[in-house]
């Protein structure tokens, strides 16, 4: 088991490298002068030079990357070009928001999706057809549109939940939950349909296997056959899916945070992008990459628990 953990952590390194290196390559390809972008065309030469130095553009790309790496490993991701604050500090403030949002959405998608998918797989016919429709709709409806509609219904007209804004956990538990409810549901909407469909397919496939018949032939009660045996065998593709969904949810979080004006990493990414605040955007990219690594690790561990073949190799 420890071998699995170590192997997964080792694989994490190329990922973080890849993400950060892609960023750097893109930066190196920047057309025009970022200093001009930032300061406008009428600043003095000294000002441009200062920005260049600040951005590290006075060195070669490799040196720049090396510097960045050096700092990153020590926990320093540079400073924001806009407000000169440490990137790490800024991100740390916003991390809990995005974490709560994405993890919440993943859990909702996972639990809801598995429940619906299992229901659909065991009750064929109408349930199957409605699951298909449900899945297709969830796929087709744009997240941002759904968010706006929900806000309109529940916040603006219904006055049940806040339309925008974020209440930190420390301040009020109930307020925190209320401010998270709509965003999590919106974000989870796309994911839940995918999980439902995958669960249904995986359960159907598991239930069609020979060992299911063998279990029934030996007199094992039906509930055990479905919820213990079939589900465990269906778990592997579902877990894989959850891992990839998480990656997608990170992207979706960017949109959702915009719709609901949540002060998370996503909305920061958008504003930083519009302001060309590269260190911040790069920092967020690294955080996201680390998040993906962590989730993949959890998924791998769960694999090992569910699938003995994986565990032993």
């Amino acid at each position: 088991m420890t071998r699995l953990v170590i192997r997964r952590l080792l694989l994490a390194i190329p990922l973080v490298f890849a993400v950060s290196f892609i960023t750097f390559v893109l930066v190196a390809l920047t057309p025009g002068n970022p200093a001009v972008d930032l300061l406008g065309t009428s600043a003095g030469k000294a000002a441009y030079a200062a920005v260049d130095r600040q951005l590290g553009f006075d060195h070669s790309i490799w040196v720049q990357y090396w510097h960045w790496l050096e700092h990153a490993v020590q926990g320093n991701l540079g400073v924001s070009l806009l407000n000169q604050e440490s990137v790490v500090t800024e991100l740390a403030q916003r991390l809990p928001v995005t974490l709560a949002l994405v993890i919440g959405a993943t859990l909702v998608a996972a639990i809801g999706g598995v429940a619906l998918g299992t229901l659909s797989a065991t009750h064929g016919g109408i349930a199957g057809r409605s699951t298909d429709v449900f899945a297709m709709l969830g796929f087709a409806i744009p997240t941002f549109w759904l968010g706006i509609v929900l806000v309109d219904l529940f916040a603006v007209h219904g006055h049940l939940l806040p339309a925008t804004g974020w209440v930190p956990l420390g301040q009020s538990l109930w307020g925190w939950i209320k401010s998270l409810l709509l965003p999590v549901v919106t974000l989870a909407a796309g994911g839940i349909t995918a999980v439902t469909k995958q669960t249904r397919d995986a359960m159907r496939e598991a239930l069609s296997r020979e060992f299911i018949d063998a279990l029934r032939a030996d007199g094992v009660p039906e509930w055990r056959v479905v919820y213990i045996h079939a589900l465990r065998n269906a778990a592997i593709p579902i877990l894989t899916l959850l891992g990839t969904i998480f990656v997608g949810l990170l992207g979706g979080a960017v949109i959702v945070e915009q719709v609901f004006t949540l002060p998370g990493l996503g909305s920061l990414a958008v504003s930083a992008t519009q302001a060309h605040d590269l260190p911040v955007v790069e920092g967020i990219a690294v955080y996201f990459a680390l998040g993906v690594v962590a989730v993949n690790l959890v998924v791998d561990l769960l694999y090992g628990w569910v699938n003995p073949k994986v565990r032993l190799t």
Binding site: A217, D218, V292
Partner: protein, 659 residues
């Protein structure tokens, strides 16, 4: 999924190997309503976008400030936005960037991904391994963030962002295509092509590429859908086409601003995106369904099938009463399966008895219905099969009348069952010990320790050495022979009085087969249980069974003690079957005796005797009416009107050919 760019969507989309996209395929596709409508709507959108100046009622940026946020009217079919601009026109013009962007994304992915996927799947080796590693990393990169980075760097060039998105979608695409290629490559006809001397490029183009064109199409539709969602999301965030020019995403953003005054713009803008993506998704599903159908025939619709029989309706033979002395008594059993909306009989008028402690064999070739009969006894028919007639009585109880709870106890407790492939009949995620304990606990109330002891006992019963060690193993760690013994142990956990073994040794090597047969015999002796052994191999049955039933085309055609059957078969089919085995040949120089013709499918069973079209002795009487089982001396039965003649060795009447 909306803007959640989940690579899984692309991955799960298609079955691994699909037939090529041919004109025939396309015709099948159009016939499906979902595909036809989707294609129609998409074509409409594309055409409208291309001919926008002609089709749109207004210029998209013309602001009719006098009528802001108007509802649908003749002048403005979809109403106006807050600046009085016609929504329909804006939607139509907004389709243009959507289409262009989608083409950029999907084009990039296909151009890069298809060659890589083809090569990776076909060549394999280190190239494939490297590609898979890159894919793993690629799928973990959060696409949205990278696109934002690209946008922050190349703020004036949205096209580069689109190409970047296309590149980011390559990993899941390649993974799927590669999977399809690997599946095709593994098929024997590719080997045959190599043996035939065809060069690899030719094989790839002629044989592999057509087979993956289906998956490629499905993926293309999904990529398009994801692209539309993603780019409209970016538009919503303010990237891409800049105001005042319309894009679907920015229109949603504008609509959000006036949500309190009018929700119509929101519906219109969101609606177009939703409809486009919906059509693409439905199209992809339809392509996938048609691909699968081309393999397996139309996907069975689960409507209630009419019980109209496909074969000509024989007058039913009068059913006989079940035998009260027998452990298992089957009378007039009929089993049917739904095929293409109709109910088709696969077993008809099956009668037999099994007495306590007896070993009875059921011989037949594929398609004769023997497996359906065996599974019907424990009501474990697959694929919608049902018992549509007859009675099954075990120990005085009517099996067909048992409720769910009684049935559960009956299975494994009265009648046990093992099937052909041992390794797949055990849940791979459970240890052997857990599987055994579960079976034990289903049939008795035991503590965990007692159950464990009983599990060891069972393993010893099936002659597995080192029982304690085996308990801790997983099914994939067992050899074929061991797995079959474990399956046997589980079937015996409830102490059944009858064991049904359906081709238990077919998947095993002959030396292993011999051991399992010996084991079944000693189990019978030790536990006194009866055995119903189903097999296509006459010699397996001849070794183990005292009585034999021969099935052909859904019917029992002969029933006899084993020596009697092998020495002197009393039905033309049994006779020809035994003769066609190379093991019974005495003169090698002669060709093997064969049976002319082929086994009729259940839909095509002849009236009267099912074997008559292939039989030397057939006469008009054979077609007239259903043939009953005739009794012969020695406790034998035969479903042949000439049975007595055959049995006594006389030549047949009516001048038909003799042996």
């Amino acid at each position: 999924m909306s803007t959640v760019v989940s690579p899984d969507v692309i991955e799960r989309a298609t079955p691994p190997s699909a037939p090529p996209v041919t004109p025939r395929f396309l015709r099948r596709l159009i016939r499906r309503p979902s595909a036809a409508i989707s294609l129609g709507v998409l074509a409409l959108i594309v055409l409208a976008a291309i001919f926008a100046p002609l089709v749109a009622p207004d210029s998209p940026n013309y602001a009719d400030l006098a009528h802001p946020l108007a509802g649908p009217t003749l002048a403005h079919p979809l109403g106006t936005d807050q600046l009085g601009r016609d929504l329909l026109s804006r939607l139509i013009y907004g389709a243009r960037p959507a289409i262009v962007e989608t083409l950029e994304v999907v084009g990039t992915t296909l151009v890069l991904g298809l060659p890589i996927g083809l090569m990776s799947g076909f060549i394999g080796g280190w190239f494939d391994r490297m590609v898979m590693q890159v894919i793993d990393i690629g799928m973990a990169i959060p696409a949205m963030v990278v696109i934002l980075i690209v946008l922050s760097v190349f703020s004036n060039d949205f096209d580069i962002a689109m190409i970047a998105l296309g590149i980011l979608l390559v990993p899941p695409f390649v993974r799927n295509i590669r999977g399809a290629v690997v599946a095709v490559r593994g098929e024997l006809f590719v080997d045959a092509a190599r043996v035939a001397g065809l060069s690899p490029p030719r094989i790839v183009f002629r044989h592999v590429l057509p087979r993956v064109s289906g998956p490629v199409l499905v993926q293309a539709t999904l990529l398009s859908a994801i692209s539309v969602l993603f780019t409209s999301g970016l538009g919503y965030l303010g990237f891409g086409v800049q105001p005042p020019n319309p894009s679907w995403g920015t229109m949603v953003g504008n609509a959000q601003q006036v949500i309190n005054e009018s929700s119509w713009p929101l519906v219109a803008a969101g609606g177009i995106v939703g409809i486009t993506v919906l059509c693409l998704g439905l199209l992809g599903d339809a392509i996938r369904d048609v691909s699968v159908e081309s393999w397996t025939g139309p996907v069975a619709r689960s409507r209630r099938h009419s019980v109209a029989l496909a074969a000509p309706l024989d007058r039913e033979l009068a059913p006989r009463e079940p035998n009260a002395d027998a452990l298992l008594s089957v009378r007039g059993l009929r089993v049917a399966f739904p095929r293409q909306g109709r109910s088709v009989l696969v077993a008809q008028d099956v009668d037999f008895d099994i007495y306590p402690g007896e070993a009875v064999g059921l011989i037949g070739e594929s398609g004769c219905g023997k497996t359906s009969v065996a599974r019907a006894v424990i009501r474990l028919l697959r694929g919608g099969g049902e018992v549509v007639g007859g009675r099954i009585v075990v120990g005085g109880r009517d099996v067909l009348a048992l409720d769910a709870n009684e049935l559960r106890r009956f299975r494994g407790g009265e009648v046990g069952y093992i099937s052909q492939e041992p390794q797949i009949s055990l849940d791979p995620t459970f240890k052997v010990g857990a599987l055994l304990r579960e079976a034990i606990k289903c049939h008795s109330d035991m503590s965990r320790a007692a159950a464990r002891a009983r599990a060891v006992e069972l393993l010893e019963l099936v002659r597995l050495p080192e029982a304690k060690h085996v308990l801790a193993l997983y099914p994939h760690e067992l050899s074929g022979g061991m797995a079959q013994r474990v399956a046997l142990a589980r079937a015996l956990a409830g102490r059944p009085r009858l064991l049904i073994a359906d081709e238990p040794t077919t998947a095993l090597d002959v030396t292993l087969q011999s051991e399992i047969l010996g084991l079944l015999r000693s189990l019978q002796q030790e536990t006194g249980m009866a055995l119903l052994l189903v097999s296509h191999d006459c010699w397996v049955i001849s070794e183990l069974c005292q009585r034999v039933l021969v099935m052909y085309a859904g019917q029992v055609v002969e029933q006899a003690p084993v020596d009697a059957l092998f020495d002197r078969p009393a039905h033309p089919y049994s006779e020809r079957l035994l003769l066609s085995d190379p093991g019974s040949v005495t003169d090698d120089a002669q060709p093997l005796p064969t049976i002319p013709g082929t086994v009729p499918a259940p839909e095509d069973w002849p009236s009267g005797c099912h074997f008559r079209e292939r039989c030397d002795h057939a006469s008009a009487a054979c077609a007239a009416a259903p043939i009953p089982l005739a009794e012969l001396p020695g406790g034998r039965e035969s479903r042949c009107i000439f049975a007595h003649d055959l049995y006594d060795g006389h030549s047949t009447p009516s001048g038909c050919s003799t042996r």
